[in-house]
């Protein structure tokens, strides 16, 4: 009887002593994400591919521009994947090491996707939040500008830019950065319209918070869920765009390469019995896209409270 009482008192003491650590919506979302097997697998694969693209060249015997003269001219017989001669993924039609080139191409492709979606996140989110929050004429001008930019056939402009200013990776980044934020701006504007009528924004106005701080402190954090999801799902699209540009022969310059350029040359060579030239880049390309999509879906399920 007494012992029970003392235990209860001890327990009460323990409970009151510790300050309760709050669980944020982010940590809730992280817990839901971890429960999603496909998404976690996607994240692991993505991490592995990123590590591969960043550090893979240290395991390569050949660099991505060296030509192996010993197999030149007899690629279909001697250029097959082999550990003996150091061409783990085989060699391309010029005798260059496909492993080194895949590592480097994957890096470029992921970089394009990341840069593009970073621009989308920063520019698109702020642009959409500002347009949505201020509304009225500001909103009209800002969103009609987006409409005009969207109506321009961007692939045509991008190709034109690459032709006029020369093919360079920087020009490709600029071109992709210019268009990637447009959709994001529209999405965040729409979300902002619903958030800005919530009472906590009114409460912030009543407290005397400036419009800039309201956008940064109250609107943007509540947008981030959808922004993260959309950014993740945007990356595969941008990788595809870059691959398409590179497939056309524009974009990344030799000796640099990207997955798109590798797939293009692989597709051109496969009739000569060198299927590895297509298979390896294509595998990396597809696995990367799948991984990003799974992660994006997982994030959407984790961050969207309506699905619960």
């Amino acid at each position: 009887m007494f012992s029970n009482k003392t235990t209860a008192e001890d327990l009460a003491g323990v409970i009151t002593a510790a300050e309760v650590k709050g669980r944020s919506l982010w940590s809730d979302a992280a817990a839901r994400f971890v429960r999603n097997k496909a998404a976690v697998l996607g994240a692991v694969v993505l991490l592995a591919i990123t590590v591969f693209s960043l550090f893979g060249q240290y395991f390569a015997v050949w660099s991505n521009e060296e030509i192996d003269w010993s197999i030149m001219g007899k690629i279909s017989q001697a250029g097959a994947p082999s550990f003996a001669n150091g061409h783990y993924f085989g060699a391309d039609e010029l005798g260059r090491d496909l492993y080194a080139r895949t590592v480097q191409g994957t890096r470029i492709s992921i970089l394009v996707g990341m840069v593009g979606s970073l621009v989308a996140v920063v520019v698109g989110t702020l642009y959409g939040a500002i347009a949505g929050y201020f509304g009225g004429r500001v909103d009209n001008i800002m969103m009609r500008t987006v409409d005009v930019l969207m109506s321009i056939p961007f692939m045509f402009v991008l190709i034109l830019m690459l032709v006029i200013f020369g093919r360079s990776i920087v020009m490709l980044f600029i071109g992709i950065g210019l268009i990637s934020w447009l959709d994001m701006a529209r999405i965040t504007r729409g979300q902002t319209l619903t958030i800005k009528n919530k009472e906590f924004v009114e409460a912030a106005i009543a407290v005397g918070v400036s419009p800039t701080m309201i956008i940064l402190r109250h609107i943007v954090p509540n947008l981030l869920g959808i922004v993260v999801v959309y950014a993740t799902l945007l990356i595969p699209g941008l990788i595809m765009t870059e691959s398409f540009i590179s497939f056309l022969g524009l974009g990344v310059q030799e000796p640099m390469t990207s997955l798109g350029a590798l797939i293009r040359s692989g597709a051109g060579q496969m009739q000569f019995g060198v299927i590895w030239q297509l298979a390896f880049p294509l595998t990396f390309f597809l696995v990367t896209l799948f991984a990003f999509t799974f992660v994006g879906d997982g994030l959407r399920d984790a961050l969207d409270p309506k699905d619960r």
Binding site: T16, A18, E19, V20, K21, G22, R23, S24, L25, K198, E199, F200, E202, A203, A204, I205, A206, V207, G208, V209, S210, M213, R217, H218, P221, N222
Partner: protein, 349 residues
């Protein structure tokens, strides 16, 4: 309180809040929703003015317009000697600490991405130069004042019940030591058992900090409990304003009479005595209010003059204001009848 030379803390004069309607292909300005259309009243320091009326009559809009959460269409608002009706939102910000608001929906009025600590601290961040430690201490004091456990400071709003969330909202409103708080239906979204707690908390805080409330509600019995004076709104206008006891005992305006007759009476034997006044028809659209008195389309005591001219808001007896032709001097006979009726009513009691 009112005997000691009452000083109006808040003066509202002819407040108008119209929302434009745009229609047609060219989005032409085709009319206004007159949510608040010429409202005047004073709120005495330290009192609670109850603002009642049915849904959509402009109660909340009136409260928000007084705090200048909207850019008002016309009229003047003076709070604590400062005219705020015409100030820009930017120059209004330094004056914000003296007036605060408690919101209706405790779920929506707290940012789900912020901890309780940062929610209550936000006003301090904006208006004071306190150090982090001082702010933290102040937040703890506020949490004590509204009856929240200090240990919950780093929790997020979704971990709290409705009543607790409302307490967080009240703590935020109190952070800057305001003089005047607009309570916009602070209890409407709460459970009945929690309603009493929150109302009692508001009363305690009023005593403790010397607050002045504008208490917006459609719960007439709760207003009767908390309010010093009561203003009744109908279709964007205040139709009657009087101290609590007289207005509940003998409402003057026909609308107030109808509204009060709708309050449920817990005692069945008393319930049978009172006749319910059932109003016919619907509230007219605030975009197209009727000519004359706003209430003339549904008033059981409607007269010819009601459909022609708008009644003035007059002080019929000391402290009792009403806007109705039944009591205006221009209509002698009607006024006499009404006065007679009031007398009869008093004798009946």
């Amino acid at each position: 309180m009112r005997d000691l030379a009452p000083r109006p803390l808040v003066q509202v004069r002819d407040l108008k809040m119209h929302f434009p309607i745009y229609s047609g292909l060219l989005r032409r300005h085709s009319g206004n929703v007159k949510a608040v259309d010429g409202v005047s009243f004073d709120i005495i320091e330290g009192e609670t003015l109850g603002l009642v009326g049915e849904s959509g009559c402009g109660k909340s809009t009136c409260g928000r317009a007084i705090l200048r959460l909207y850019d008002i269409t016309g009229g003047s608002i003076t709070i604590d000697g400062a005219e705020i009706g015409t100030l820009s939102q930017h120059s209004l910000r330094p004056l914000r600490p003296r007036m605060q608001m408690v919101f209706q929906d405790p779920q929506a009025s707290l940012n789900p991405r912020m901890t309780v600590q940062s929610i209550i601290q936000e006003p301090l961040d904006e208006h004071t130069t306190m150090s982090t430690a001082e702010k933290r201490e102040k937040v703890f004091e506020l949490m004590d004042a509204v009856g929240l456990n200090r240990r919950f400071a780093s929790r997020y709003p979704h971990a709290f019940s409705g009543g607790q969330r409302q307490r967080i909202g009240i703590a935020r409103a109190l952070a800057l030591n305001p003089r005047f708080i607009v309570c916009d239906e602070p209890i409407a979204a709460l459970d009945v058992s929690i309603q009493a707690q929150v109302v009692n908390l508001l009363e305690d805080l009023q005593e403790q900090f010397g607050l002045t409330y504008l208490f917006i509600s459609h719960d007439l019995s709760m207003v009767r409990h908390i309010a010093t004076r009561v203003a009744v709104m109908y279709l964007g206008k205040v139709v009657e304003l009087a101290p609590r006891e007289p207005i509940y005992a003998e409402p003057l305006h026909p609308y107030t009479q109808a509204l009060l007759s709708a309050v449920p009476e817990p005692d069945p034997s008393l319930d049978a005595r009172d006749e319910r006044i059932i109003l016919q028809g619907d509230v007219p659209s605030p975009a197209n209010p009727p000519k004359g008195c706003n209430f003339c389309t549904r008033c059981p005591k409607v007269m010819e003059i009601c459909k022609q001219t708008e009644p003035d808001f007059i002080e019929l007896m000391p402290g009792r204001f009403v806007a109705c032709h039944l009591y205006t001097k221009t209509n002698e006979t009607a006024g006499a009848t009404a006065a007679h009726e009031v007398k009869e009513h008093q004798q009946g009691e």
